[in-house]
């Protein structure tokens, strides 16, 4: 890719926004989070997607998933409660319907995959690894809205042994940058992150949504059709930040942080706590071009602070 240089005559200090996640080089650290931008098609009408660092696809499963009964989304105080249930067309739909469009995008695609058992993860990783524009694989071990057969625990990401096994097996399956996505709903997220690192991942993504629920006091019933769901948005930001802070100090591979990033200030907080890149999720619903605003805000902050390389900000917050 051609390096962007400031035009002659401009006095702006050249900024380095590039970050490296495993083998993956991103032009900038702002990424669209899984499940909040589909496969890029619809949001593109509202957003110049190619200016972003990357897009993570909706999580793909081996077989088509219908998803959970409605209502699937409901407003929470300062947040969003969802129980989509990984609705997606399955790997065939991805390969035939989504890939041609994704190939046309000039930014890296991170394919998010999830399965019930190890075998499904392997098949999915093999399939998506064949796609040229898929430059990394995010392994969703942390969706609160589906039940996995592979573990007795509600989330794969809560089961240290399962995390180790899935990551180490996928490490042998694919050459692509491998990024397990972790759940904040664990006793000690550092332990899980260390297990993933030990198993050979290139980076970790965190956090997925927090298991949560809301009740309608008039009908006396849970607001979601699936009863419980996952909480996202600004209400989880301080909780997610702490996870990033903890994990950054515990492992050496890069951390991709997310959870309630609504504007550039939020994103910078995540970077200061140790995120090499940030993902924008719920904010895309509030404003489909929020991610670009976040990118521009980061650039302005760096200019104001006289910071030339974004890597100087990563983990710069000191206790």
């Amino acid at each position: 890719m051609v390096k962007k240089r400031p035009r002659r005559g401009t006095t702006r200090v050249p900024q380095k926004l590039k970050v490296k996640i495993g083998k993956l080089e991103l032009e900038n650290p702002v990424i669209l989070a899984s499940g909040t931008a589909g496969f890029g098609r619809e949001i593109r009408e509202f957003l110049d997607i190619e200016r972003l660092g990357a897009i993570v696809t909706k999580t793909i499963t081996l077989h088509k998933k219908e998803g959970n009964p409605p209502p699937r989304v409901v407003e929470a105080p300062w947040g969003l409660l969802n129980s989509i249930g990984l609705a997606n067309g399955g790997i065939k739909d991805f390969m035939f319907e989504q890939v041609p469009f994704l190939e046309s995008l000039r930014i890296p695609v991170i394919a998010s995959i999830s399965g019930d058992i190890l075998d499904e993860f392997i098949k999915l990783a093999e399939e998506v690894s064949r796609v040229g524009c898929v430059r990394a694989i995010e392994v969703n071990l942390s969706c609160p809205n589906v039940i996995h057969k592979g573990t007795r625990l509600p989330l794969l990401a809560q089961d240290r042994t399962a995390v180790e096994k899935i990551v180490s097996t996928l490490r042998k399956t694919t050459e692509k940058t491998l990024i397990p996505k972790l759940s904040p709903n664990v006793t000690d997220i550092k332990e899980i992150a260390k297990a993933a690192e030990g198993a050979g991942c290139d980076a970790v993504s965190l956090v997925n949504t927090y298991p949560a629920m809301l009740v309608d006091i008039h009908t006396m019933r849970p607001r979601l059709g699936n009863v419980c769901g996952g909480l996202s948005g600004p209400c989880i930001k301080p909780l997610a930040l702490k996870c990033v802070w903890d994990v950054h100090s515990a492992i050496d591979v890069p951390v991709i942080g997310m959870g309630g990033i609504m504007d550039a200030d939020d994103a910078i907080e995540f970077i200061l706590c140790g995120s090499s890149a940030v993902q924008v999720g719920t904010a895309n619903f509030v404003n489909p071009s929020a991610s670009l605003g976040i990118l521009e805000g980061i650039e302005q902050y760096m200019a104001k602070k006289g910071i030339a390389d974004i890597m100087d900000l990563v983990g710069a917050a000191k206790a």
Binding site: G38, P70, N284
Partner: protein, 268 residues
Amino acid sequence: MKQFKAKIISNRKIAPEHYILSFKRPEKERRIEPGQFFYVKISDSYRPLLRKPFSVHKISGYSIEILYKTIGEGTRALSKRKKGDILDMMGPLGKGFDAVRRHKKVMLVGGGHGVAPLYALAKQLEYPAVPAGRLSIFIGARTKDHIVCDKKFRRLGARVYIATDDGTRGHKGFVTDLLTRKILGSRDKDTGEGRGKGHTAIYACGPKEMLKSVWKVARRYGIPCQFSLEEYMACGIGTCLGCAVKTQSGYKLVCKDGPVFDAKEIVW
């Protein structure tokens, strides 16, 4: 781009809990269909966080109107916005009513704020699409204070039938009671037969329970129905898969495949 800043022209109370907000029409949008909706960011705060969807109530060359009922945080905050304020909007989104087919008789059924999109539709169906006197609207609400737009529909030449739960205005009971009576009345008195396929069409918007009973009646007499459905939304554009409704061919999305659906598609 279907996202724009809308300047509020007026935001007036038309009933104790109902308002009509008028805003400047987005310049680039040439086509706005009845049944489509605008997705509105009501305030810059995180409460409410999400945008709220509102159907097009009236379309004119210069402005767009939405009609809303204050039921929660978002709609109450919207009622406080003033003339001259700027609202961030997305739209028009979704698929509207298919109003091209010409029916001799058209029955509109609106429950609660469900009358909102029906007015835009009625305007589009005005003579000659539907001959004078062949348009009827059935409005149902909890109580008389919640009956809105009846005069406006009458001015369009529609026959207006009203039902309230508490009987404070019109028929005491369900609006579908009136609808059934009307359908039966229009049938041949001796044979009980209808007027044949394509004679009548029903368009409705309102609570699910109401739509369900409208469909029950309509199906019995073979009358085609288009319903504007509501479901909670997050993205409004088809990316989050949040606004799913069950149809004969699996889940579909209210924001993208709808909000208007053929009633026979829906799994009730």
